[in-house]
Symmetry: C2
Subunit: 324 residues, 2 copies
């Protein structure tokens, strides 16, 4: 099976969409924009040995110890689309379509690549988002780069820069220990993001990819505000606890900085807090929503409280991660 | 300089555009779609050692001998955007914005990466197409993946599938020997593509990336037609002649199949041929336009003529290239 046969194989497996005018197989794809909507675009790349491992016996260089870094091809395929969906969720946008480029080592079989696309397209079908183009190259290590397009009404897009003094800060799900399992099987919060955007409830929003503290800092910097967080309100995940062998301080450190949680972190007006919380529980009964603090204090800084009292900044599991 | 500093550095260098509502630095970019236009999307990836070489002393595996495969970072940056622009040109679309993901080996300096972006952004400014997002990863070998967005009126998009029986087949520029120089310093035919699309003159169009014969086959297959080509009408480049040391047959073989010409190959109604040719010479006096044959004959097949007489298929410099 050569490259062109493989593309034909993929075309047949693609979910259909009314917005796709020209899909895979021309110089470019052509999409119909919904009148009155804006186009929302995000791109992410994953690389073997950095975001996951394909082969055993390769030196381990994950930032923290992982139970099993060797993901199946289906899980790798699922993850590269899921992290892009998560970015759209953080803008409150509806997914429309995506394109993908793949670097394929000659040693990697077509069977492996088919399984990669099985995982990718299964998630694509769940979210009704077709692949409309792509490009293959050979490469020494496997990588995949996805660019996703979504749409949103101009007045509903949720940026990082909209946080206002006095806003409550909320986070979905539970945090930390994602590398146990969550980093590849998480549910992108598309429905939740659209819900928060459509009702204009979220003033600022981001998805947690680098860890709660670092990603909140992005909101604070963009919005030119500070934050006061309640340490006892941070939702610590079961996996963060497991990885910390019952040490509460270590588990909380993970919840604050582990990364790859892909939960939504947003701010909302105190005026809407009670209604939002009530409506949330009705609409998303299985997704926890935690109110972890307020916008205020020194610009770009996070101050901490515990049971209402000021405390020193807690320990983190890691500082920010840089690819450079 | 870490990843975040580098992104700040890039933001300052970015050309501005009225269509970009949210650019670099949020979870996703937000673009305003022009009412009544469709979104046109293309993606291409380039990898060190496949599309160019960064370091000396690495084993050569280009499909043909190249005078100097070691491109400067500026040239590599220029090329990855140029090949995407060329795809939009082949649809007759106007570029709007692009996103890029980069895999960066730890050994590659920030100075190198700055020069890569210098080449990329110089071309971006020439075409007024801003970068609105991206993602970095570390990797063993350098790669860059660009996704570009353009727009076009729904009735003007030129697909591969529109060729009609009796159409003339035309090609821009001259062909072959691209690896001498042209593959990295070519001018994407955006203005030419839009000109052909706006007047509805091109029935089917493609940019030549895999070689004239292979790319014409894509049009024939998509349009369910055949073609009759005039061997004496093929525009052979000076570089194809140089690389063939004066051997005319070898030079022509290169023009037919070398690849990476990034010229436009299109079909047009015989009704419009004279006007199109006249207008073309007025508008693009420095870009040759060659009428190389007609649509007809057996479906998906190319038959050949020379000085009006039927001949056997000419030799090619190479068969199709597969990354698998």
């Amino acid at each position: 099976m050569n490259e062109f046969d493989f593309i034909e194989y993929l075309k047949k497996k693609m979910p259909r969409s009314g917005q796709v005018c020209v899909g895979i197989g021309d110089d470019a794809a052509v999409l119909n924009a919904t009148p009155g909507k804006q186009l929302v675009v995000s791109t992410d790349v994953v690389v073997d040995g950095v975001d996951f491992k394909i082969k055993k016996g390769v030196r381990h260089h994950f930032p923290i110890k992982v139970p099993d870094p060797f993901l199946s091809p289906e899980k790798i395929g699922r993850k590269v689309l899921a992290i892009n969906l998560s970015d759209l969720a953080a803008m409150g946008a509806k997914p429309v379509a995506f394109v993908i480029t793949v670097g394929k080592p000659k040693s990697l079989s077509t069977a492996w690549l088919k399984r990669f696309y099985d995982g990718l397209l299964k998630l694509a079908k769940e979210y009704d988002v077709p692949c409309v183009g792509g490009d293959f190259s050979s490469s020494k290590e496997f990588f995949a780069s996805v660019t996703i397009f979504g749409e949103a009404s101009p007045d509903q897009v949720v940026k990082r820069s909209g946080a206002k003094l006095g806003d409550w800060i909320a986070v979905t799900g539970t945090l930390g220990g994602s590398l146990m399992r969550h980093h590849h099987d998480f549910t992108p919060r598309i429905r939740e993001g659209m819900f928060l955007a459509n009702r204009r409830w979220a003033h600022a929003m981001i998805d947690i990819s680098d860890g709660l503290v670092q990603d909140l800092s992005h909101i604070l910097k963009a919005s030119k505000v500070g934050a006061v967080l309640d340490l006892d309100k941070i939702p610590v995940s079961r996996d963060a606890e497991k990885m910390s062998l019952g040490n509460e301080e270590k588990a909380r450190a993970r919840a604050l900085s582990d990364g790859e949680d892909f939960e939504l972190l947003f701010t909302a007006s105190p005026r809407n807090k009670v209604t939002l919380d009530k409506e949330w529980k009705k609409k998303f009964p299985r997704v926890p929503l935690s109110w972890i603090g307020r916008i205020g204090g020194k610009v770009s800084q996070i101050s901490w409280r515990r049971n209402g009292k000021k405390i020193a900044p807690p320990k983190l599991s890691q500082k920010g991660f840089s690819h450079f």
